[in-house]
Structure formats: structure tokens, C-alpha cells
């Protein structure tokens, strides 16, 4: 079980601190695959990275991350090391280039496991078994990354990242660089690994809501460094409460509509700058429902079991 409370992460830039995560609180239950979606720059990737390893220019400002009743020392790179890979793991966005090009894959994995104080040879049978689940033969362990296709590398990385049965897996844009057929396979693999208990819970970061509809149990929508809405996938798709979620869904293509005849609606305007974000609801400038109260910041509250929204009009909307 993952519980994040009031997490704040800023980026150091020459112009000042970019508040990429500005007080984010949510939880992910055991066995839950949570989709994390939003526009570019909304903070979803920052959140994913913050849970495992802060980049150099990312600055921890406040908040707490608790995984299985242990507080993760996310601000301390060294203290975080024992938790990485074994408790929290990641399938990175750049899975195609995540393997050292000059080492045979099997040897690289052995060296990594040895460096973590584990014996690579004892884990070898399990490694081969899991590769087989994703349709890879043990031969790939004797190959260099360049000998594998992009999709194969992606699957190798998925197997490696989950080899130690982490409690939490962050899948960062894992389907973005793949063709539709491979996307489906990867999405299926994520669910399969959860069902087999290799991973307890999962956060799937993506901008692709269609993929989330296939794999996620719940979906969390972010906007401009804050949470907008979190709900079970069905609820998000069928009865979204936040106006941003509804506009986001509305801008997706639907089967059977010819877009030569009908323009796909987008969301007018652009997200606010996170260098000096406005007070109150951050979506209010683009929101069709904005009214006087929106100058105050709406709290992220539960309007139905498992359904949280940060919008003053959410209640009225969910019912209406």
C-alpha cells in the first residue's frame, strides 16, 4: 500500500523554482493498477520519478511517502538505495536505451544483482521463467542490446525491473514509443505481472487514456502540478466529475465518427506557468464552469467511495 501526503517537488531553474508537484496526496491500494494521466508538463512524470529517484535538478520541498508502513527517504539518494529495485522499481520511458550497449544482457543483470548483494546465478531460473512468460527465450541473455528489437528490449526491461517482486512499480510512458500491437502486448504484460503477484501495486504514467482504460483499476488526473480527480476507471470514463477530466475525454477520438465532418474539440488555452502558479483553482481560466468561488483553492475531497475531486462544482455535477 502506497500513501503519499502533501508531496512537493520543485525544479531548480535559472528563472526560479518550477513547482512541478505542489502538494499532492493520494494512495494506491495493494493489487491496484493506478493510471496517472494529464497534459505534458502537468507533473505526472515528476511524480513517477520522485517516488524512486530524484534527478539532480529536482528538489524535495516537503511531504511524505509511505510504502507498506515504511517511510521512504526519497530526499536522501543514498538512504533510498536499499528500497530501489526491491521495494520500488521503475520501467523507464527510455526502455529502448536502458541497457548498457557494451555488455551482454545476462552479464549486465548478474553484475547488477551482485552489486546489490544478491546472487545472480540463484535468480537465473526465475529470470528465464519470467522472460518466457513474455515470449522471450533464454538466448536473449547471451545477446547484446543491439541484437534485440525495440519491443524485445522493452520486455527485457520489464522483467528485470520486476525481478525482485517490488511492492510498487512505476511504468513511465511505457507504451508511448510502441506501435499499437506492441502497446497491447505491453499493457497485457503489466496486468499479468500484477495478477501473478510479481508486483503488488502499479502506477502507470501516460498521456494515453485509451491504454489506461484497458489496464488501470483507477485513474488519477493531474493538472498543473496538482491533482484534479481520482476515481475507478469506469467512473472516470463514464461519469467524470472534474470539468478538466471531461474536456480531456472529450478531446479523444471515438469509433465511428469521421473527423473530416466533425472537428475534434480541444481544450482552449494553455496550462498556467508553474514558475508562479495562480492562486485558487488552476484550471479556472480555461474552465467553462468557473464562477466566483474558484479564486479559492478547491480541496481534493471524496464525493463518492473511491472518487476524489478537486472542484467546487463537482458535487452538483456528479449528481446532475
Amino acid at each position: 500500500m502506497l500513501a503519499v501526503s502533501d508531496l512537493k517537488i520543485h525544479y531548480r531553474t535559472l528563472a526560479g523554482a518550477v513547482k512541478a508537484l505542489d502538494g499532492v496526496s493520494f494512495s494506491v491500494a495493494d493489487g491496484e493498477i493506478m493510471g496517472l494521466a494529464g497534459e505534458s508538463g502537468c507533473g505526472k512524470s515528476t511524480l513517477g520519478k520522485a517516488l524512486i529517484r530524484l534527478e539532480e535538478r529536482m528538489q524535495y520541498v516537503g511531504g511524505q511517502v509511505v510504502l507498506d508502513d515504511k517511510v521512504l527517504p526519497i530526499a536522501d539518494d543514498r538512504a533510498m538505495n536499499p528500497y530501489r529495485f526491491s521495494e520500488v522499481s521503475i520501467v523507464p520511458q527510455y526502455a529502448m536505451s536502458a541497457l548498457n550497449p557494451t555488455r551482454r544482457i545476462g552479464r549486465m543483470i548478474d553484475e547488477l544483482l551482485d552489486a546489490r548483494g544478491l546472487k545472480g546465478s540463484t535468480l537465473r531460473p526465475e529470470l528465464e521463467r519470467r522472460l518466457a512468460i513474455l515470449g522471450l527465450t533464454p538466448d536473449v541473455l547471451g545477446m547484446y542490446p543491439i541484437e534485440l528489437s525495440g519491443g524485445m528490449k522493452q520486455r527485457v526491461v520489464m522483467v528485470l525491473s520486476t525481478l525482485l517482486d517490488p511492492s510498487l512499480l512505476i511504468a513511465d510512458e511505457v507504451t508511448s514509443a510502441l506501435d499499437v500491437a506492441s502497446q497491447k502486448k505491453v499493457a497485457g504484460a503489466l496486468v499479468e505481472f500484477r495478477d501473478r503477484g510479481y508486483v503488488k501495486s502499479m502506477i502507470v504514467v501516460t498521456h494515453d487514456l485509451a491504454i489506461l482504460a484497458q489496464v488501470a483499476d483507477s485513474i488519477m488526473i493531474m493538472y498543473a502540478g496538482k491533482l484534479a480527480e481520482k476515481a475507478p476507471t469506469r467512473t472516470i470514463v463514464e461519469a467524470p466529475a472534474h470539468p478538466y477530466t471531461r474536456l480531456l475525454l472529450g478531446s479523444l477520438p471515438e469509433v465511428g465518427i469521421r473527423f473530416e465532418e466533425q472537428r475534434l474539440p480541444g481544450i482552449k488555452g494553455r496550462p498556467p506557468s508553474l514558475l508562479s502558479p495562480p492562486t485558487g483553482c488552476r484550471f479556472r481560466d480555461r474552465c467553462p464552469l468557473a464562477f466566483g468561488k474558484c479564486v479559492e483553492e478547491p480541496p481534493f475531497i471524496e464525493i463518492a467511495p473511491g472518487h476524489q475531486v478537486a472542484c467546487w462544482k463537482a458535487d452538483a455535477h456528479a449528481q446532475g
Binding site: 524512486i52 529517484r53 533510498m80 538505495n81 536499499p82 528500497y83 530501489r84 529495485f85 526491491s86 522499481s89 521503475i90 523507464p92 527510455y94 536505451s97 536502458a98 541497457l99 548498457n100 550497449p101 557494451t102 555488455r103 551482454r104 553484475e111 547488477l112 552489486a115 546489490r116 547484446y144 543491439i146 541484437e147 526491461v157 528485470l160 525491473s161
Partner: protein
């Protein structure tokens, strides 16, 4: 792999033929005639001069047409004959080169290999320590921008002439006989230090800067980030980064060889060091076609051979080139 090697060997053979042809042609473009110089040194009666000149011209085959000389040259070369020196007649050029070669190799091999190794280690260390980086970087730029002979002259002036710590010239103390005694060997080493240091230092700067930049690049690469996200210790990540950063440095070594050899020739002249550089200088001053040809031939062969070795080593250490050779793997 074999096809790759065969192709490489073919290219090297072509390069060799072209280089040797240029090597043969260049001394003959020089104004004047070596035999005139030789004869004028003997300084006899004018009519005796004429007879001697035609005798020597025939002896060196210089009276034949140029194309014939060119063919003769290749024929002799394939039989391992580089001709006889004109200035030190009748010593064979191979003997002269054999005498000078150990000095040049003794300078070149340690300075190339040590500067490459030390430069890579220093650069890799600098990439992760701010304090070291702040000294290595400017110093490296300064060294690598220094011409070989200029640093040689500077060292000779400060450490040799002003402070008197090191000898200024020659391969060993001229009062000693060349023999395998400790006294002679220590004299050899003593005379070797300054020319070695000037070659070593100039090359060191370039390697250190290159390695520092490559390491920083590798440490920011995706595979390094992934390893760190999986909690790999810094030791492992740096080991990989060092190894991968080494690859461009190996190519760099091949590219640098020619420049270092050129630098060594000039440095030998600065220190009157009895190597190939010194030999080729006196060859040029005396218009000794055969000595000039012979020395440059050695340098051509040496540089080509070293490049070939680097090519083979590169294929062994970088799997990506190997896969490329076999065509795309399925």
C-alpha cells in the same frame, strides 16, 4: 569478420602504395642534386669532379630516367633493400635506421601509451571531483594547445639550461661507450627524460579533456540512469561509464598516432636526440634521398600498422561494430 578484415587490409595496402610513392617523389622535388654536394665535399680538380659525379650518378642509379628509378625503388623495397646513404657513404640505410629506431621507439611507445592511460584515468577522476576538475580542465587545454617543440624548448631552457638538472642534448653522455653497463643505462635514461616529458605532457592534456567529457556524457546516459534507479552502487555505474567512454578514446588514439609521430620527430631535433627525427633532418640537410625515403617509409609502416591494430581492438571491445559487420541481426 574476415570480410571486414580483408576490406580493411585492402584499404591499408592502397594507402601504403600511395604513401610510398609520395615518399619516393618528395626528396626528388628538392632543388639540387645529392651527388654534387658529395663531390664538392671531396673537392678535387674540376675535371676529376666531372668524372666522379658521373661515377656516383651511375652508382646510385640517378642517371636513369625517373620511371626507371621508381621501378627500381619498388623492386629494391620488396627485397628489403633501402639503398645506401649518400652522406655516410657507403653505410646501408637499413643500418642507419636500425641504429636510430630504438631511440625513437623508446620515446614514442611510452609517451603514447602512458599519456593515453594516465590521461584517461585523470580525466575520469576529474569528471566526478569538482576541485580536480577545476584544475585539470584549464591545465589540459593549456597542454593540448602547446606545440611539441615549443614545450620541448621550454623544458630544455628551464630544466636544462637554467636549472641544469637535465642534459640538453644527445641520447647519452658522449664520453661513455655504448655498452650494457649501469652507468650507460642510467645515462640513457637521464637523457631520455626531457624529450619524453615534452611528448607525454602535450598528449596528456588532450586525453584527459576527452575522457572527462565522455564520462560526464556517459553518466547522464539512459543506461546509467536506469542502473541508478535500480539502486546500483556508483562503482558499477562508473565502471560501465568508464568502459564505454573508452571507445571513442581508442579511435582517438588511432587518429592521434600520426600527429604524435610528427611531434616526436620535431622533439628529437630540439634535443639532438639520435632517433629517426634527427636522422631525417640530417638526411634533408644533405639531400640524402635514400635516408629520407627510408625513414619516412618506416614511419608510414608504423602508423599504418598501429591503425590496423586499433581497428582490430575496436572490433573486439565494441559489440556494436561486430553486429554491424554481420549485417543486421534478426
Amino acid at each position: 569478420m574476415l570480410r571486414y578484415l580483408a576490406r580493411k587490409l585492402f584499404i591499408y595496402l592502397l594507402t601504403f602504395i600511395v604513401a610510398v610513392t609520395i615518399d619516393w617523389a618528395i626528396p626528388r622535388f628538392m632543388p639540387g642534386n645529392p651527388v654534387d654536394a658529395l663531390v664538392s665535399r671531396i673537392a678535387l680538380m674540376p675535371d676529376a669532379n666531372a668524372a666522379l659525379t658521373s661515377y656516383f650518378m651511375a652508382a646510385f642509379n640517378l642517371d636513369q630516367p625517373l620511371w626507371q628509378q621508381y621501378l627500381n625503388f619498388w623492386w629494391a623495397l620488396l627485397n628489403g633493400d633501402l639503398g645506401r646513404s649518400i652522406m655516410l657513404f657507403p653505410t646501408p640505410v637499413t643500418t642507419l635506421i636500425g641504429r636510430a629506431l630504438p631511440y625513437t621507439l623508446g620515446l614514442l611507445l611510452p609517451s603514447i601509451l602512458l599519456s593515453w592511460y594516465v590521461g584517461n584515468v585523470v580525466g575520469a577522476l576529474a569528471a566526478r571531483r569538482k576541485l580536480l576538475d577545476n584544475t585539470v580542465l584549464p591545465l589540459g587545454y593549456l597542454l593540448t594547445a602547446t606545440p611539441y617543440m615549443w614545450l620541448g624548448i621550454l623544458l630544455a631552457w628551464v630544466l636544462g639550461s637554467s636549472l641544469g638538472w637535465f642534459p640538453l642534448a644527445f641520447g647519452y653522455d658522449q664520453s661513455l661507450k655504448a655498452e650494457w653497463t649501469w652507468k650507460f643505462i642510467s645515462s640513457l635514461l637521464y637523457h631520455w627524460i626531457l624529450p619524453f616529458a615534452s611528448l607525454f605532457l602535450v598528449a596528456l592534456g588532450g586525453w584527459a579533456i576527452g575522457m572527462r567529457n565522455m564520462i560526464i556524457y556517459e553518466l547522464e546516459s539512459d543506461y546509467a540512469n536506469y542502473l541508478m534507479a535500480l539502486g546500483a552502487p556508483q562503482r558499477l555505474v562508473r565502471k560501465y561509464a568508464f568502459r564505454n567512454a573508452m571507445l571513442p578514446q581508442i579511435t582517438g588514439l588511432a587518429l592521434q598516432l600520426g600527429a604524435v609521430v610528427g611531434g616526436a620527430l620535431v622533439t628529437e631535433i630540439v634535443f639532438s636526440y639520435p632517433g629517426l627525427g634527427w636522422l631525417v633532418l640530417s638526411g634533408i640537410q644533405n639531400q640524402d634521398y635514400f635516408v629520407i625515403q627510408g625513414v619516412f617509409l618506416f614511419i608510414i609502416v608504423g602508423v599504418l600498422l598501429a591503425n590496423l591494430i586499433v581497428d582490430v581492438v575496436y572490433v573486439i571491445v565494441d559489440p556494436r561494430t561486430r553486429v554491424g559487420l554481420q549485417g543486421d541481426a534478426a
